[in-house]
Amino acid sequence: MSFFDSHLTSLVIFLPLLFAALLAFLPNAERGQLRTVTLIGMLLDLVLAAWMYLKFEPAGAEFQHEYRVRWLDDFGISYHVGVDGLAVSLILLTAVLGPLVVMASWSFVQERTKEFHIALLVLQVAMLGALSSLDVVLFYVFWEAMLIPMYLLIGVWGSEERQMAAMKFFLYTLAGSLLMLVAIIALYLIAQPSGSRSFDYATIYNALVGANRELSACMAAGASSPLCTNLSPMALTLKSWGPWMFAAFALAFAIKVPMFPVHTWLPDAHVQAPVAGSIILAGVMLKMGTFGFWRFAIPLFPSVAREARPLLAALSVIGIVYGALMCLAQRDIKKLIAYSSVSHLGYCMLGIMAMTLEGASGSAYQMLNHGVSTGALFLLFGMLYERRHTRLMSDYGGIASVMPVFAVAFVVITFSSIAVPGTNGFIGEFLVLLGTFKSSLWTGFGVLATTGVILGAAYMLWMVQRVFFGQLTHRENAHLTDMNWREMATVAPFLVLVLVMGLMPQPFLDRLNPAADRFVDRFNVGARDSRITDAEVRMVVAQLPPRAAQPLPGAPRPLGLGNVQPVPLSAPLRPAAPAPAAPVADPHAGHNH
């Protein structure tokens, strides 16, 4: 394997950081130069991410493009990155949005341009890193690092109430994720005996599989069955502490999604954020929450997830309906789009909670869709806002007659958002609803979620009608100019994606389906009538490279300044440790639906 192949994931993650460093040395006044360099960086990153996406073998090993080196040996933390089908898709989404975000802010951000673009690039690094981390602490580091640039994006370049919104966003998310840190440490202490402890995701998962199976089997059989009286020590520990740890993980991710009662930071953050911030927030950061449920909360604690499933599904459905109803009550367009995100992310969560293959892959597809369609809505509205500087629906009306091209683009994206067949939104919502009806969840959830589709069409079309059609009611709007070439070039990729993903979903689903399949299997280990064995769901990942030769700890050393530099860890330990994840044939990798 060449150097390029083994470091591909790291390159995708850290290339924007390189450009951020480059930007720091460019003069402040050269705005065009700053923008161009950032755009080039984002485009290069997109090329690499697309290469990674194409090289990803749908039928291959679960985690591909893996790379692992020693990092903090004392804790059992390694620098371990790699992608599965869901992660590689979300990485592609993130990389696609990157250059578009730069183009969307081309004329909007005139103040402190350099800092703005550095923040964008650093945010890109953190998001890509969080998606590809296979070490829990590495994930946590990237997860928290996302907050800082986003906080600055909202707080510095946002609109009037930006400081309050930025602070609310930061504290809400931080409170949740710090509790997750406690759960992560507890998990680390539970999973392995002292001495061989590791924060590696696959190691922790594999250590817990057996105990999780016992617990699920015990739950399926009922409390009085012999399966529950002979639990292993690990299963007993998980039985008493698993719910708390799951709660900590779930809270952190639910805040990010955001799920119903903890969604209140989102409308503020979206309304106050600059266009670029809104696009990234809606496009990628919200998916970090659903991704977290998919990657961590549910596979690590399947038995608790099974108990919490009705509650989480109910909250998702409440989110769908409540978000849609709130949209109907909005006069502020940006707030409407923000609440529509609450509603759409409700579908993603419902699809996950359905625990069927259709639901899970529909949910994953919906994550990508929402990134495209809501990202585009924020982008388009940003163009309108740049011209008129008002967010109120009543200040517009009849815009289609002065900005026809813009109106066409907006309507197409609206169709995607309300899941008109032929657009990408249809595939995602259809699969989610199908999965929900097929699942063991109460049928009412599916019925209520379907009403959300109708409400969604109602509020979006109502908004489009009030903004674009009818008489031109405000004289200020008569002289609005239509989109220029740069704006069209920014919107065009979104329109293409809407149609391509709507008409040709199979290439995308090919990569999502194996991941969805494994996800559902991991949830079902030990459940009633399930014949999935531990070996089938165990994760196969690269092992740690052997330790570089170094003196044994505690070995006598002569006193002297020459010994001040101890060997461990200070330097990158191995120049190019190969990540030989021999693609182990997975019995489930093949059968897609």
């Binding site: 804790f75 602490v137 930006r162 504290l171 409170a175 509790l179 502490w241 505690g554």
Partner: protein, 519 residues
């Protein structure tokens, strides 16, 4: 028959850093007499050089087998070497910051740096003290130096008031410590910490009240020095009133040295008495300190005072690590206040070793971050605002990102590190401490710690808000820049970020040497 004790050259080995610092102090004092240059900026350079040399020697001694020296009055182990290194890092950074600060106030005098080095020598000696009287004397050496430093700018009312307050309360706490030591001597018949365990166990059977009184009085005396709640009252006033470089030095050095003494004293009591009361004592102190320190910092608009409260809060996190030292048989009955968790607990020794590493790493993290933050404040404040008390107002930070982008970035990094946000050294420190505490069964305490640190991010981020999101006040001030201050800021910012991403060298030192701690 009284025998003359034999002291060989080897006995002086562990004291070399302290001796170097004393030599440096004397050189600075003598230079004051024999050199008649107008500028005294070379003195800070001398201090920094001697501090660096002492730190390098201390780090070089890490990993050596623990041994007793001076007939058991002192002990040399990796723990004391690392504490000395942390103290010297604080000394070097604070001395560099002090150069510009004193220069702007026309008050550069040799005694300032000499006092700093005398104080640092006392701190280093405190970390090796293994006998109660020696410990008390070294505590006084460092305290008297810091009392004098606090009142160093004697023209203003604030500095004098702070010095006086610190002196009164400090003397009071030393007396309490001495009283406790006397009671323990009465109970056990020895003042040597390494011989304490056996007699203490006997005394615990016969006169339990006496032992408890002695232990708690010693604990109280040391809790004053580390500013644990409810013994923290002096901290905000003293930290605010002292010259800012002195505050930086105190918050790092005094705290590190006092924690070293605390850990050494109580670890040597531990075999002689049940661990549960010690665990409960420190867990409660930690709980109170984290909550009160962080909550009281929230309303502060004075950044220096906010950092003073924050330093109290950080002592609370270190105390959680101290509590983890005494978690024998974690999760057993008798300790339910803080919550416990059953898992395959690491062997007691492993938890203890993790907790010691955590304490050391956290102290280092706090030193580089805290000294950096106080250093930045000292660079920002102006003499004429001090009497009005607005020198440290949040408004002073408004628009700093435009006026001084480098400083704003450094301050933002310090604030994030204090809040424990990755990828900074503060995060790794918290990870160490929380891991040890959870392993010791104190999940509840850690949850409180995590929630309070989430609350603390509010007031740390407020500084960032002012720097980056508020326009500069009218008539924006120009700031004097000094190469030494800039160097200190660059060094500490680099340390915060680089050790936050690659803590390799430091964790390497911590991992070296099978036993960190020796009696």
């Amino acid at each position: 028959m009284f025998t003359i004790p034999v002291i060989t050259a080897a006995d002086f080995g562990p004291l070399i850093p302290a001796i170097l610092l004393l030599v440096g102090a004397i050189i600075v004092l003598l230079s004051e007499v024999f050199l008649s240059t107008a500028s005294r900026s070379y003195q800070s350079v001398i201090t920094a050089l001697f501090g660096t040399a002492a730190a390098v020697i201390a780090v070089g001694a890490v990993g050596e087998a623990p041994r007793k020296v001076f007939l058991g009055f002192a002990v040399s182990d990796s723990f004391s070497s690392l504490i000395t290194a942390v103290i010297c890092v604080g000394l070097v950074l604070a001395a560099l910051v002090a150069r510009g600060y004193l220069h702007d106030r026309h008050s550069e005098r040799g005694e300032f740096y000499a006092l700093m080095m005398f104080g640092a020598a006392g701190m280093s000696l405190l970390s090796v003290s293994n006998e109660l009287i020696t410990l008390f004397i070294n505590l006084e050496v460092l305290s008297i130096a810091t009392y004098a430093l606090t009142a160093y700018l004697r023209r203003g009312a604030r500095s004098t008031e702070a010095g006086f307050k610190y002196f009164i309360l400090g003397a009071f706490s030393s007396a309490i410590l001495l009283y406790g030591a006397a009671l323990l001597y009465g109970a056990t018949g020895t003042t040597h910490l390494s011989e304490m365990a056996g007699p203490l166990a006997e005394a615990f059977q016969s006169s339990r009240a006496l032992v408890y009184a002695g232990v708690f009085l010693v604990g109280t005396g040391l809790a004053f020095k580390v500013a644990a709640v409810p013994f923290h009252m002096w901290t905000p006033d003293v930290y605010e009133g002292a010259p800012t470089p002195v505050t930086a030095f105190m918050s790092a050095g005094v705290k590190a040295a006092a924690f070293a003494a605390l850990v050494r004293v109580f670890l040597s009591f531990s075999p002689g008495m049940p661990d549960a009361p010690l665990l409960e004592l420190f867990a409660t102190l930690s709980l109170l300190t984290m909550i009160v320190g962080n909550l009281l910092a929230i309303p502060q608009r004075n950044v220096k005072r906010m950092l003073a409260y924050s330093s109290i809060a950080h002592a609370g996190y270190v105390l959680a690590g101290v509590a983890a030292l005494f978690a024998t048989g974690a999760g057993e009955a008798g300790f339910r206040v803080i919550g416990s968790m059953e898992m395959h607990n690491a062997a007691n020794a492993a938890v203890r070793s993790d907790a010691l590493k955590g304490i050391l790493f956290y102290l280092l993290a706090y030193t580089v971050t805290g000294v950096g933050a106080f250093g930045l404040i000292s660079a920002l404040e102006r003499r004429e605002d001090e009497d009005r008390g607005t020198a440290w107002d949040l408004e002073r930070f408004a628009g700093l990102a435009q006026r001084k982008p480098g400083w704003a970035l450094a301050m933002a990094v310090f604030m994030l590190s204090l809040g424990g946000i990755p990828p900074t050294i503060g995060f790794i420190g918290k990870l160490y401490i929380f891991r040890a505490a959870i392993d010791a069964g104190m999940t509840g305490l850690v949850v409180v710690g995590v929630l309070t640190s989430a609350a603390s991010v509010y007031f740390y981020l407020r500084v960032v808000v002012y720097m980056y999101m508020r326009p500069a006040a009218d008539g924006a001030v120009t700031h004097n820049t000094h190469w030494s201050t800039e160097t200190a800021l660059v060094l500490s910012t680099a340390a915060v970020v680089i050790l936050g991403v690659l803590p390799g060298p430091v964790t390497g030192w911590l991992a070296m040497g099978g036993s960190l701690f020796g009696q």
